[in-house]
Amino acid sequence: MNNIKRTGPEKSIENSFESSFENIANNVFLNISQVDMVFPTPTGGFTALKEVDLQIDKGEFISLIGHSGCGKSTVLNIVAGLHQATKGGVLLNNKEVNEPGPERAVVFQNHSLLPWLTCYQNVELAVKQVFNKTMSKGEMKEWIEYNLKLVHMDHAMHKRPDEISGGMKQRIGIARALAMQPEVLLMDEPFGALDALTRAHMQDSLMEIQNELNNTVIMITHDVDEAVLLSDRIVMMTNGPEATIGEILDVNLARPRSRLSLAKDIEYNRLRSEVLTFLYEKQRKVASISSKATAPQGSLPKQRVNAK
């Protein structure tokens, strides 16, 4: 456990079990507290999320994993402020989140670049908005170029999104989010639309960037390998409706991580199979109602359950 350099001292304290009560206390960096989400439908409310509770430390990389439709995106949107929780809420630095803002930058699944602007201008729009008062024009230019360099896109910064590949677009999307210097980086299946090779490449890039910036990240993913490779903790969600956090898995693999050496790593494979077991045994998508009823909360193994 000592070799988790990256997360710093507060992380190792958090990891020890005595401090689990402190998680509930108010000094948590990002606190998703007892969130319920009910969507109105013509036939009455649809409860998408029920008592989702998660505390995240500064600099932590969290993956949200679960089957489609389990409400992962809803959780992310609530943290982003794009949705309002029906019950409970989100605290960032002890301040309630109730509208979107650049301190919680979002990387969208389909990049969401403005197609009429060049890559540079896309990042510029964000930078101008966030650092309007604190940066001079020259500083802004430097900062935009720095962020484009960070995602290795400085060579194509004056191209339009339709002139570059899907992976490149996603890089620009990440650069735009990073350029806002967010306190939390929210990524909604950032690599979901990419082919396997590009995805692996992007994951490596993301790890490299994380090494440098040590951002707090919440990432939604469908990809078990991606979750284990990138995360400090993997949050596994039960199937909806009334989805909630099923299990949380600590990933104590040394950084920097390399996908090649991890492929044979025993711990890596154990974590991988834990996630797979959760997804395909405990939360089978085709599951009958009975298995859904038994799986969450009650019969959980030694992993940390959502603090309640």
Binding site: E99, L114, Q129
Partner: protein, 332 residues
């Protein structure tokens, strides 16, 4: 060995040349030959049918008669211009002579008041339609954006737009005429009443397609882009400028093209009734005139009206190509 390779390459070269010739031939056939065939058949049928239609103003004009009228219209234009030049020369001479006799003489300069030629009328029509269209765009685009942004406003106003959209210009015209006569009272009017009436009728009719398309374009903006704007906390003005306007430019231009088409059609009717000195008035005057050339002259005007409408559409298309980021949305 080497000679065979040479042979092969030369073969492929000739093959390629053949292919190229074939392709370009096909292109020429599609772009030139087929339209020419279509037009020839049309002209043939026209001249055949025209001969067998006898009206009180003589036979219905065939293509020949129309071509003759074109040259005579151009000739009239030239003679009229020469008359104008001669008039101004005479006036200058007279004034100079009077000034020579009496240095205090206050020379009067009068404008030539000959009748408008066909070319003048085309220009009047173009000016009127452009003014009417621009006025409509000036109102419709901001309004459409507002409606697209505000769902409630859209629901409130949509019935009104839908009801006014199909109204014929001929129904508006009497109302517009009366309102203009009542409100536009000035001793030294900048523009004539007939111009204003035609222009406002054009505006009223070309407003609606633009409002509808703009509001549709704005309300159909990808929600991800709107989320980007929310995350960045863009203020309304920046939001409209940076996200809404560019995103809906393709739809706005589709609306503008539709509207310009409507405007041009409406204009002819409006000019006929408002007696604005443009193409509509030309047609009406020829109809009232009832000479043996009248029908051929009207037919010439029909051809010109069609051509100008087509050209205006092309101009709008080029403009759209230039402005729009989404090249795939720009179709002829």
């Amino acid at each position: 060995m080497s000679s065979t390779t040479v042979n092969i390459t030369s073969l492929t070269i000739t093959e390629q040349v053949l292919k190229l010739v074939k392709n370009s031939l096909a292109k020429i056939t599609n772009a030139v030959l087929l339209p020419v065939i279509g037009i020839s058949i049309f002209l043939f049928l026209w001249s055949i049918t025209a001969q067998s239609i006898h009206t009180s103003l003589g036979d219905f004009p065939g293509p020949n008669a129309v071509v003759k009228q074109f040259s005579s219209l151009y000739f009239e234009h030239k003679t009229e211009r020469e008359k104008a030049i001669a008039f101004y020369q005479r006036q200058d001479k007279r004034n100079a002579a009077k000034l020579a006799k009496n240095p205090d003489y206050n020379a009067k300069i009068r404008a030539y008041t000959g009748k408008e030629t066909f070319l003048d009328q085309i220009i009047t029509s173009l000016v009127t339609v452009t003014c009417g269209f621009l006025a409509a765009a000036f109102i419709a685009i901001p309004f459409g954006i507002w409606m697209g942004l505000n769902k409630k406003l859209n629901l409130a106003l949509n019935p009104i737009v839908q009801v006014f959209k199909p109204v014929s210009p001929l129904a508006w015209l009497p109302l517009v005429t009366m309102v203009v006569s009542a409100l536009y009272v000035s001793d030294d009017p900048m523009v004539s009443k007939s111009f204003l009436t035609s222009m406002l009728t054009v505006t009223l009719c070309s407003l609606w397609p633009m409002v509808i398309n703009t509001s549709m374009g704005v309300s159909a903006i990808n929600s991800d882009l709107l989320n980007v704007s929310k995350v960045l906390r863009l203020d309304t003005l920046t939001h409209v400028n940076k996200i809404v306007l560019p995103a809906s430019v393709p739809m706005i231009f589709t609306g503008m093209r539709l509207s310009f088409g409507v405007a041009w059609m409406v204009l002819i009717a409006a000019e006929m009734l408002a007696q604005n000195p443009g193409l509509g008035k030309f047609v009406w005057d020829e109809f009232q005139n009832g000479s043996s050339d009248s029908l051929a002259r009207i037919m010439a005007a029909v051809v010109v009206i069609g051509f100008i409408g087509f050209l205006l559409d092309r101009v709008m298309l080029q403009l759209q190509r230039k402005v729009s980021w989404d090249k795939s949305s720009v179709n002829a």
